[in-house]
Amino acid sequence: MIAVGALAFGLAPASPIAFEEVAHKAGLHFQLRNGESGKFHQIELMGGGVAVLDYNNDGCMDIFFTNGAAIPELKKSTPEYSNRLFRNNCDMTFTDVTSEAGVGGEGYSMAVAAADYDNDGFTDLFVAGVDRNILYHNLGNGRFADVTVKAGVGAQSPRPWSISSGWVDYDNDGWLDLFITNYVQWDPAKEPRCGLAEQQFYCHPSQYRGLPNQLFHNNRDGTFTDVSTKSGIGAHIGKGMGVAFADMDGDGFTDIFVSNDSVRNFLFHNQGNGTFREMSLETGTALRDDGLPIAGMGTDWRDFDNDGSPDLVVAGMINDGFLLFRNLGGNRGFEDAGERSGLLLGTRQFTGWGLGMYDLDNDGWKDMFFGLAHFTQLGKYLGRDAALSNRVFRNDGGKRFVDVSSTAGPDFHKAALNRGVAFGDFDNDGRVDVVVSCLNGPAKLYRNVTPGGAHWLALKLHGVHANRQGLGASVRVVLPDGRTLSNHATTAVGYASSSEPLVRFGLGSSPAVSSVEVRWPGGRTQQLRNVGIDRMVEVVEQ
């Protein structure tokens, strides 16, 4: 009786979320190398950005990994430091096409952001790093060209240490602009020595000066203008690790959240006139519940309770507890939902890096996947290894997050120094898969094998007035039982990483959707009827 009732209301009985780790089988052979040499250079701790993108438009998601370099010269002196692009052969195997694509990179790379910045239909790549950034223009023939200098997004001296980046159309002009999250000033020649007399440690971030973030406006001609000062973004010094974009108050303009390490987070509210006002304190997203900052790392901004307003999750380090800020809607700000949801206590023993809020079992509620590892020196003092196994937390009706890792698959019992995480459906079966970059270890590819056959819908947006990928568009799906699901298009997810641009919905056992509404950047809305389910639907802006 209960099961029938649940089905009648379109609620799927819970299927255990399950993944199979298949990187080796898939030919995805990559190891993130940080160049560590026993000298405790701070940059060794970070890095590991990974992108999911369809670079050749064959309908199958490919993967790009960033990589480190030799320290202190910061050169990719051997092939083991190369950034790598893997083409999905559309059969869950991958081929390394780095050389042919021309994206091996230079310098010490940290982060990647994938999007079609020139609206030519091909996804481009921006790679941020310690000593240089690189903008790769996708030529459409399997190759990329380094257009950094021409674009004006690389030249700055001294180079800030960038850890995350993302593409966002902040002024709704239909062209994607570039946001870069910067961490601290770092100079290998002036690295402080931290720790005890008898034992050196990596330094606490307080030993370094923070940096402002950067915003580059797309001039629509292949060049960008640094508007960091003009926009107000550059007025705020932080220690940025993750970035996420969403329209927090439904005013039609995309806002920007930056998770900072050991100082308060930033929430840049888009004023709609080319400027931003930093409002993390006013919105309640700055700090933990007790008023202390955490070692903020990866972040995602999505609606976890299906109330139509996107919520924030931020990973931290051991004994921080990860943050969950529930959006109260409109201009009412956020409330701290970490304790109530079980996430704060459930994550207190973890150090998190990449993460994402995705409906992993397609039951209509977005779950969470965390890439975890303690800082490499910390293990000694905890009496346990710094390596951790990744974790999956299932969203229980928008109220609580439950750690279901123990039944999610054998790899969730295997520890590694996990870093960047990115999401995409590599086998196009409607279940979101995950790729994870691991420090000095093999990358992981988690194929989602969750049983139950719950229904799903994926939208591939095609902007006409809006940017071509529709990034920034909000989508609302109404189910026959009246329930509403919401999501939005973004590739900036987690830490240093970039995920697929599709907008996904798990539908549970609902046999159809009643309506789909797309709100394009700029405010135009488009209603879709008779949308089929269990497929990817292309939506062209009208």
Binding site: P192, Y208, V263, G284, D290, L292, E339
Partner: protein, 274 residues
């Protein structure tokens, strides 16, 4: 955790109780002087007086443990342990020395070594509430929450203190045992009605209970008080949240106050260490 423990070192360990029986030592007078100087946060002068004391009596246990406390306050944990080893060689049953040994590991985040030392201190000295408290804090840091709560309960049984009650209250809060949390905070306030930390925790709890007006009242009270471990920034943040719906203008005032504090300690004023 670090700031908390440094204050603890200075204020929570009066030399008198642990120095009984040593009055006849030739170094005792200099030791008492050093203790008073350290309590007054005159660390360099205290170290000087202490060196004089130990010259007169190298085996004076209170002086050796005070030396360890001074060393820990400047992050010289190995030096502290050397001094404590000497103290324990002279007096293996020194409760203070044993506890401080564990603390030297705890303050350097070496939790796996802190645990057995605190456990030993707790077993050897059934009246020592600090050992129970810090063992609890250590267990809490490694995720053993049930054991931590039990130890906080033991600590208050051995010797009730606001510090122990508040440690328990914070953990109970994180576990959403809000009634128990409130009870513990109220016990702390009975012992120390002007405890800034206790009023802060009550503010947090009232916010959690969705009582913003009462939370604001408590937060303003906390801001008036001094001492404790909670910073002005933390209180201002709670007040921003408390006033957000009831008085946006006051919320903005507290946000600005917090920003001014940040500006005063901005990175531009920090010098890079060599």
């Amino acid at each position: 955790m670090m700031r908390h423990a440094v204050l603890f070192l200075v204020t929570f360990l009066p030399g008198g109780a642990w120095a009984q029986g040593y009055e006849r030592s030739p170094g005792y007078g200099a030791y008492k002087q050093a203790d008073a100087l350290f309590t007054a946060r005159k660390t360099s002068e205290a170290a000087g007086a202490l060196e004089h004391s130990l010259k007169l009596d190298p085996d004076l246990v209170p002086a050796l443990t005070l030396y360890a406390r001074i060393a820990m306050s400047i992050n010289r944990f190995e030096v502290a342990r050397e001094s404590l080893n000497r103290a324990l060689a002279v007096d293996p049953k020194s409760a203070n020395a044993r506890f401080l040994y564990g603390l030297s590991y705890y303050l350097s985040n070496d939790l796996q070594h802190a645990l057995p030392q605190f456990e030993k201190a707790r077993q050897e000295n059934p009246k020592d509430a600090r050992a129970s408290l810090y063992l609890g804090l250590t267990y809490e840091s490694i995720g053993r929450f049930d054991e931590a709560i039990a130890l906080y309960e033991e600590s208050v049984r051995r010797q009730p203190s606001a510090e122990s009650y508040l440690a328990g209250a914070r953990l109970l809060h994180s576990q959403r045992r809000l009634d128990d949390c409130e009870r513990w905070i109220r016990e702390a306030l009975k012992l120390e009605p002007n405890s800034r930390d206790a009023h802060f925790e009550l503010t947090r709890l009232l916010l959690r209970q969705e009582k913003p007006r009462l939370a604001a009242k408590e937060g303003e009270r906390a801001l008036e008080l001094s001492g404790g471990n909670v910073s002005d920034s933390q209180i201002h943040y709670l007040l921003v949240r408390a006033y957000r719906t009831t008085s946006p203008a006051l919320a903005e005032q507290h946000a600005e106050a917090l920003r001014r504090i940040e500006d005063r300690s901005a990175p531009e004023t920090k010098k890079d260490k060599p």
